[in-house]
Amino acid sequence: MVNQWTKSLMAILVAGSIVAIGAAVSTTPSLVAGILTIAVFLIILYEMETSPEIKFEMNYPDKAYVGDIINITASVSIKRGIGLFDILLPMVDSFDLVEGNNVHIVYKGLRYLEVKFDYKVRAMRRGIFQVGIISFNYFPSMGIINGISDSADLKKEIEITPKILAQEKLRRKYRTRVRFPRSHVSNTGPVSTDFETIRQYTVGDPYRTINWKASARSAENGNLLVNQYEREGTKSVIFLIDRNSSTLRGTDEENQLEYAIQFALSSTRMFLASGFSVGMWPLQSKVQERGDYVLPASGMENMRRITNMLLRMEKTVTRKEPINLGKIFYHSLLETSSTVILLTSLQAVNMPEISEVCRKIASYRGRTILVDIVYYGILMKYSSFSSLGNIFSRSVQSSNWKKMAKNIPGRTMVVHWDPTSQKMGQAAGIVMGVLR
């Protein structure tokens, strides 16, 4: 387009020259009016086609949840210059355009131009996205001068957080479905005298905790009720998130890693609200650096740190070296006696290294709850045999689980979670039950 315009300039000059030669040969001075017409035309456009001064303003919320529709408003004002402006407003791969358009063409004439554009996008994936880079091309009206391609960075970000789905469900008290181990998985201090709740008697409860009056009141049911007291000290949980290629079945927006992040974020909120200390580590080969992990701590400040870490978490290339969680991880494990919640997707490929991680945690007196995010359901969702998805998924699952169970070391509890058929709250409830 720009080359064409430069040719146009040459053509205008050649035309002027032809008329000038004609005027000279025919000795017709009135033809000078033609040359003057061309000269005035060129002078006007030269004066108009100057460097444009462009001002952009963008308005949209700083934070949103996955699945939310975000309304983006852009205001563009252009001073000086005359020509077509091709404006490319910010758009991220993980956003889906719902309404309007982010690409516009406007013509800036002789007057100052101010235009507003609106478009709506749906956030498809969590993360922190740069939504402030606006690109534009300027094509001067008569192409007497060359056009410009440039961009402006408003340095604006939008934080897309996964929806915290499990939180409401986890506010209820969950009871473990397993009888063993009977002791609490997380190592906490001794039982205090602070009353927590009344619950049904279970095997192993001390007799002195039986609430006889409450049991008598509910004698019709024939159940014994016991007082439960708060334990001293803070329970501690460390999340380990596997972000290897084996956790990326499905799409960029829906895969095991995304479900793991959603699960971790929801559970973190719930644990912190319940007074737990929560830490977060990614499973990776290289030695962990400060900033790669979040040390176990209580309070909502840690929620912010964990959220930041999870929003920036991306996949890693296939690990070639063994997993190295670093000295700090094992040190905090020993110090806090945390329960480790390992979020992964168990497969034949990663089974040996996951087993090794669980074994090493056990050697540091830690217990692991391995949340296996089952991927068959996700795969089936995106295959053409979706109707057979559940049947196929369950048959393959059970045979694989039996094989893999042999490799699971002691002090490790496995919770299988198929996010396509089982709600996150249910899975979180099972984990919570094991923890209590």
């Binding site: 387009m1 000269a39 460097s51 001068i145």
Partner: protein, 199 residues
């Protein structure tokens, strides 16, 4: 303004010397030239409208329009027995058609650009109303500038004719010409590289 209006304007203006010759002259040569001018002007305008490609035939229209003038008066008629196509009494009217043809030449370029812009924008799948609106404004603005230039050119010529001639020697004239030439070229090169300022 849409591209069809530009097409009509560029064709009528470019072919105006041909229409003039067809209406006011009787010779075979002048009639042949007039038909040729009209035909080429039509082809150029259609090419600009449909293909949006740069056509070198545009210069041919200008050359063909000037030929009757060159054959009728000036240096050539002194040395060669050329047929007089344009009478001296009709000279001013014919010169106006040539200047109009020059304006048509500019509008043909505008039509080419218009069509080419439209093709590119349609390929990029912009909204139809945005394409029409922006190109409409583009066409109107440049068309307006063209008309303004045409009127200004005419007025400037009249002003030059009214003003008394300067009695300066050949040497000062060359110095003034060089000074103007350098200033204009510096101005052109300063603008050649544009840089935008964004905020």
């Amino acid at each position: 303004m849409n591209r069809y209006s530009l097409f009509i304007a560029s064709f009528l203006l470019m072919a105006s010397p041909g229409f003039y010759l067809l209406a006011y002259t009787t010779g075979t040569i002048s009639q042949a030239i007039s038909l040729l001018i009209i035909l080429i002007a039509l082809l150029i305008s259609l090419n600009a409208l449909i293909n949006g490609k740069h056509s070198k035939m545009r210069f041919l229209v200008l050359i063909l329009s000037i030929i009757p003038l060159v054959l009728s008066r000036g240096y050539l008629t002194t040395y060669l027995p050329t047929p007089i196509i344009i009478q001296s009494s009709n000279l001013t009217d014919y010169v106006i058609t040539i200047v109009a043809s020059l304006l048509g030449f500019l509008f043909a370029g505008l039509t080419e650009a218009f069509t080419q812009f439209r093709k590119v924008l349609e390929e990029k799948e912009y909204e139809e109303y945005e394409i029409s609106s922006s190109l409409g404004s583009f066409g109107s603005t440049v068309f307006g500038i063209g008309i303004l230039s045409f009127v200004s050119g005419g007025l400037l010529y009249i002003l030059i004719r009214i003003l008394p001639p300067l009695n300066i020697g050949i040497f000062p004239a060359i110095v003034i010409f060089l000074a103007v030439y350098i200033v204009v070229f510096r101005f052109i090169f300063a603008k050649r590289k544009l840089k935008s300022s964004t905020r």
